[in-house]
C-alpha cells in the first residue's frame, strides 16, 4: 500500500483553518465597520496603500489569502463527497484550481500596488 500524498493538500488546509480561525472574524468586523459608515483609518485609500506596500505585509497577505482559500477549497471538496457527489477528482481539480487562481490574482494585484 503506497503512502498517500494527502499531506500536500492537508498541510495548507490545517494551516488555513488555524489562520482563518484567528483572523477572519476580526477582518470581517473591519469591513462591516466600513459598511456601516465607520471606515477605520487604515482602510482609507492612502493609509492602506502605504501599509500594503510594505514588503513584509505583502508576503503575509499573500500567505493568508493562499491558506484561507486553500482550506476553504479543501473543505468544500470533502463536503461535496459527504453530500454524495462522487466525482472527487473533478471536484478536487476545480476547487484547488480556484484557490490557486485566487492566490495568483492576489499576488499580481499586490505587485501592482
Amino acid at each position: 500500500m503506497a503512502k498517500s500524498n494527502k499531506p500536500i493538500v492537508w498541510g495548507p488546509f490545517a494551516a488555513g483553518g488555524t489562520v482563518t480561525a484567528f483572523v477572519t472574524p476580526a477582518l470581517i468586523v473591519l469591513t462591516l465597520l466600513v459598511a456601516l459608515g465607520a471606515t477605520p483609518e487604515l482602510l482609507q485609500y492612502d493609509a492602506l496603500l502605504a501599509f500594503m506596500r510594505h514588503g513584509l505585509v505583502e508576503v503575509v497577505a499573500a500567505g493568508v489569502v493562499f491558506v484561507s482559500l486553500w482550506s476553504a477549497a479543501h473543505r468544500l471538496r470533502i463536503t461535496c463527497y459527504d453530500l454524495g457527489v462522487r466525482a472527487d477528482t473533478l471536484v478536487a481539480t476545480v476547487v484547488y484550481a480556484v484557490a490557486l487562481a485566487g492566490t495568483a490574482a492576489a499576488i499580481v494585484y499586490l505587485s501592482r500596488l
Binding site: 470581517i28 473591519l30 462591516l32 485609500y45 492602506l48 484561507s68 482559500l69 476553504a72 490574482a105 494585484y109
Partner: protein
C-alpha cells in the same frame, strides 16, 4: 446440518439522509459550510485588493459597494460562520495537539482557553492597528 443457505447478509443502502439523523451531523455540516463563507469572504478581499491596485476611484467604489444591503447581509452571515469555525477549531485543537507536562495532560479546557486568549489579543491587535477605535 444446513442444506444450502438461501439468504445472504443484508446490506443497507447508504443515503445522504445521514446528515439529518442526529444533531451532531448537522453541527458538522454547519462547520463544513463555513468554508463557503470564509472562502467567499477571502475572494471579496481579493476584489478589494484589485480595486486598491487600480487607483483611488476604484477603491472608493469598492468601499461604497461594501455598504450595499446584500453585502451587509453577506458579511453578517459570514461573521457568524467564521466565528463558528473559530469556536469549533479551538475545541478540536487540544485533541490534535495534546500537551503532556510531567505525568498529566494539560486539560482540553486550558488549551482551548489559551487559544481564545490568543484570538482575543490578535483581534484586538488587528482592530487597533486598523484604527478602528
Amino acid at each position: 446440518m444446513a442444506e444450502e443457505m438461501n439468504g445472504k447478509p443484508y446490506v443497507r443502502p447508504i443515503t445522504s439522509e445521514w446528515i439529518f439523523r442526529h444533531p451532531r451531523y448537522l453541527r458538522y455540516m454547519t462547520r463544513e459550510f463555513s468554508c463557503l463563507f470564509i472562502g467567499g469572504y477571502t475572494l471579496l478581499l481579493i476584489a478589494g485588493l484589485k480595486s486598491l491596485s487600480e487607483g483611488r476611484a476604484a477603491y472608493d467604489a469598492f468601499l461604497e459597494a461594501l455598504k450595499s444591503p446584500a453585502s451587509i447581509v453577506f458579511q453578517v452571515v459570514a461573521l457568524a460562520f467564521a466565528a463558528y469555525h473559530s469556536v469549533t477549531w479551538f475545541a478540536l485543537t487540544p485533541k490534535a495537539l495534546p500537551l503532556q507536562l510531567g505525568e498529566e495532560f494539560v486539560s482540553d479546557g486550558a488549551i482551548s482557553g489559551a487559544h481564545y486568549v490568543v484570538w482575543a489579543v490578535l483581534s484586538l491587535g488587528i482592530w487597533v492597528l486598523a484604527g478602528a477605535f
